[in-house]
């Protein structure tokens, strides 16, 4: 049987190894984030919109909008128990800026594409620029409990192949 000094020596080695592993993990995750695996995490602006006053903002008529210069902006409103719009069509491979806001309670949205997973705090607009590369239909659903109809609050992202 080992004596306690030997075991402590091994355990100190294990401690050092653990510290190295944790450091590598941290470096790995940070480098992944720096290469934009989480679109918008560093650039998300803190902008707040009074959820009672959507009129006069682009959220009054949500959907995909193309600016004269060709850039795309998608506006989505989350309210119990519906996303507006609940089907969003975007062209594959083009940069799109998403603007999503919840207006009553907390909602959540994960897109099956593009590594987008958002907790939508009422009034706090989630703004992020991303690109959906793979054509297809991606189903998702509000992922933060918002009441009796939570399970019916679905969302479809349709990424359309260029013609």
């Amino acid at each position: 049987m080992l004596d306690h000094h030997t075991i402590e020596k091994y355990e100190l080695g294990w401690l050092a190894l653990s510290a190295v592993l944790v450091t590598l993990l941290f470096v790995g995750v940070i480098s992944s984030m720096l290469t934009q695996t989480l679109p918008g995490i560093f650039t998300r602006q803190a902008s707040y919109l009074d959820p009672a006053k959507l009129a006069g903002t682009p959220f009054a008529a949500p959907g995909l909008k193309a600016a004269p210069d060709g850039s795309l902006d998608a506006y989505v409103v989350a309210r119990a128990f519906q996303f507006q719009p609940n089907v969003l069509r975007v062209p594959a491979g083009q940069a799109v800026t998403l603007h999503i806001v919840a207006v009553d309670v907390i909602h959540g949205l994960m897109l099956g594409q593009g590594n987008v997973n958002l907790e939508l705090m009422p009034g706090h607009i989630a703004t992020l620029k991303t690109r959906f590369n793979h054509p297809g239909t991606y189903t998702s659903q509000c992922h933060e409990y918002c009441g009796a109809g939570h399970q019916t609050m679905t969302f479809k992202l349709i990424v359309e192949a260029p013609e």
Binding site: E11, A46, I106, I125, T137
Partner: protein, 574 residues
């Protein structure tokens, strides 16, 4: 002449030598009875995730969400708080050979119980269908929030009591080092006193006045941030009592020694220092919190992995020592020499095994870039059912197999049923976890009334196998809980009590160092105490450092949210 059987001693004399046994028993049994209710609802949740809706046949539950609220609150918050308050009052007091003030302990028990009854009333009448995270602006009955506050206050009373008992003990025993179990218990309570602040502030200053109509609104992001300030370290409050048992009690049950006392103490000091300022890793996806704070707390979360890895080493080493002392040999073969027929042992070792994938999944959740793939999916409940649901709960089952007989002097009703309960719970949870992690990777959200969801067809089409696994696990776990609660109630309701001399002992374990000193003929008082152990014994200093770290990591975030608050009125959407 006929022999007269010796009269059984009247009930109160069972507790005569240690009246704190009775209050401990009340904490444990109340917690277990409430767990029984929470666990009884569990299979319904699992079947929902298999696409089977049982709720429509249950007149007393209005919805899946009401059932889930009860399940989450009772199992994760109420059961754990009762069990830990009983366990971490009793063990350190016996370790320090101090009798706690029973008026204080009983007040804590009754305050907690009053709180739980209030919250239970609100939840059972469908007035607090908020799930266990109760995020505003969803607003429940004030009874729910007041009840939750009283539950926490009860645990804080015990926490302060144990901390003060230890502080006085230190003053009366200058130069002595705190015995290990007491040391770990006090570190755990200090961590919880610091960690509970977020929840206390959220509930007392935001939610209670708001639900009573005294304030017009609550800022949802501020409330959520305060919730997770407590909501992550609370998982260490659940798991550290299990670690105490693994480090300091299980070696004796297994027939071995504590591998290294110094490292055990170091890991608890690390938990005290690092457990609290990590809650933002639940909020990576939140809009409204700046990325640098999330990244700093990600690093701190990773650092908490280190004491858990130390625990894995130490506990593994102490089991190895135990097996080799019983004749075990080889790299793997030694494990066969462990006392698998003893449910106290088996339940706890299975709990540890579940914590290996549980902890690894936790590292995934804490990594911002990976979390994006699993946040709020079924992966997350898969994760916490093999951490708090198994590592903690199954350890508490194992503890109850010796502690209830110890407290009542009634022998365990059935060793066989206890073993069945342990193995079935373990495999049930493993199957559940495989199913839920898998569903999460497909993209199925967590805590959703899946059996009636309308638009998830193409996700469900890819998830038939994991959904079936989840449903099966619910049935396995139902059998596990039948075995477990049979053992518990048959033990408690048993008539026979063993004499005082045959009382099941508390399995306080000897460390390898103490065993070596004893073998060398050195008295415990004459043992050389490592400088590191003396340094680590200054828990108040580490608590102060922990508070300072929390102030640095959370102060700016909370001040910013407080200054830019956007209060919103409450909504009832269920």
């Amino acid at each position: 002449m006929t022999t007269v059987p010796a009269p059984t001693r009247p009930l109160e004399q069972v507790y005569a030598a240690h009246p704190e046994k009775k209050v401990t028993l009340y904490f444990l049994v109340t917690g277990l009875v409430l767990l029984l209710i929470g666990v009884a609802i569990g299979p319904l949740q699992a079947l929902n995730y298999a696409g089977i809706d049982v709720y429509r046949y249950l007149p007393f539950l209005k919805s899946y969400y009401q059932g889930l609220s009860l399940h989450g609150v009772l199992n994760a918050l109420v059961f754990t708080t009762y069990f830990i308050s009983g366990l971490l009052l009793y063990l350190p007091c016996r370790d320090l050979k101090v009798r706690p003030n029973l008026v204080v302990a009983w007040s804590a028990y009754w305050i907690m119980t009053a709180g739980v009854l209030m919250a239970a009333w609100a939840t059972l009448s469908n007035n607090a269908t908020l799930l266990y995270t109760f995020y505003p602006p969803l607003m429940g009955s004030p009874l729910f929030y007041i009840g939750a506050a009283l539950l926490v206050v009860g645990s804080l009373i015990i926490g302060v009591q144990v901390t003060l008992i230890w502080t006085i003990w230190k003053r009366e025993h200058p130069g002595e080092v705190t015995p290990l179990v007491a040391f770990m218990s006090v570190a755990t309570w200090m961590m919880w006193l610091l960690a509970s602040l977020g929840l206390v502030v959220e509930v007392a200053f935001l939610l209670i006045p708001w639900s009573l109509g005294w304030t017009a609104g609550v800022d949802p992001l501020l409330a959520r941030t305060l919730f997770w300030y407590t909501g992550h370290p609370i998982v260490y409050f659940w798991v550290l009592p299990a670690y105490i048992s693994w480090y300091a009690l299980l070696p004796s049950t297994a027939g071995g020694k504590i591998a290294s006392e110094t490292m055990a103490r170091l890991s608890f000091v690390l938990f005290l220092l690092l457990s609290v300022p990590v809650g933002l890793h639940h909020q990576y996806a939140d809009t409204g919190i700046a990325a640098p704070w999330k990244i700093i707390q990600m690093l701190l979360t990773f650092l908490v992995v280190i004491p858990s890895l130390l625990t894995a080493f130490s506990v593994g080493a102490s089991l190895d020592i135990a097996a080799r002392a019983r004749g075990g040999r080889g790299w793997i073969g030694w494990t066969r020499f462990l006392p698998w027929k003893n449910p106290v042992f088996t339940a706890q070792v299975l709990a540890m095994i579940s914590f290996i994938p549980g902890g690894a999944g936790g590292v995934v959740n804490a990594s911002a870039a990976l979390d994006s793939a699993v946040h709020n999916t079924a992966w997350i409940p898969g994760h916490f059912h093999i951490t708090v649901g198994t590592a903690t709960t199954l350890t508490f089952f194992g503890i109850s197999f010796w502690l209830l007989p110890h407290l009542t002097r009634k022998p365990l009703a059935s060793v066989k049923a206890a073993l069945w309960a342990s193995w079935l719970w373990f495999w049930g949870m493993i199957i559940f976890a495989v199913g839920m992690h898998w569903e999460g990777l497909i993209g199925i959200p967590r805590r959703t009334y899946l059996a009636t969801a309308t638009g998830l067809g193409d996700l469900i089409a890819r998830a038939h196998i994991p959904m079936a696994l989840t449903g099966i696990s619910g049935v396995v776990l139902m059998f596990a809980s039948i075995f477990y609660f049979y053992v518990i109630f048959a033990t408690l309701l048993g008539k026979a009590r063993v004499p005082e001399s045959a009382e099941m002992p508390i399995p306080f374990s000897e460390s390898l160092e103490q065993a070596e000193a004893r073998a060398a003929g050195i008295s415990p008082a004459g043992m050389k105490i490592a400088g590191a152990v003396r340094l680590l014994d200054r828990l108040w200093i580490f608590a102060a450092l922990a508070a300072l770290l929390v102030a640095l990591m959370y102060g700016p975030v909370l001040i910013d949210l407080g200054l830019n608050a956007h209060p919103l009125p409450g909504l009832r959407l269920w």
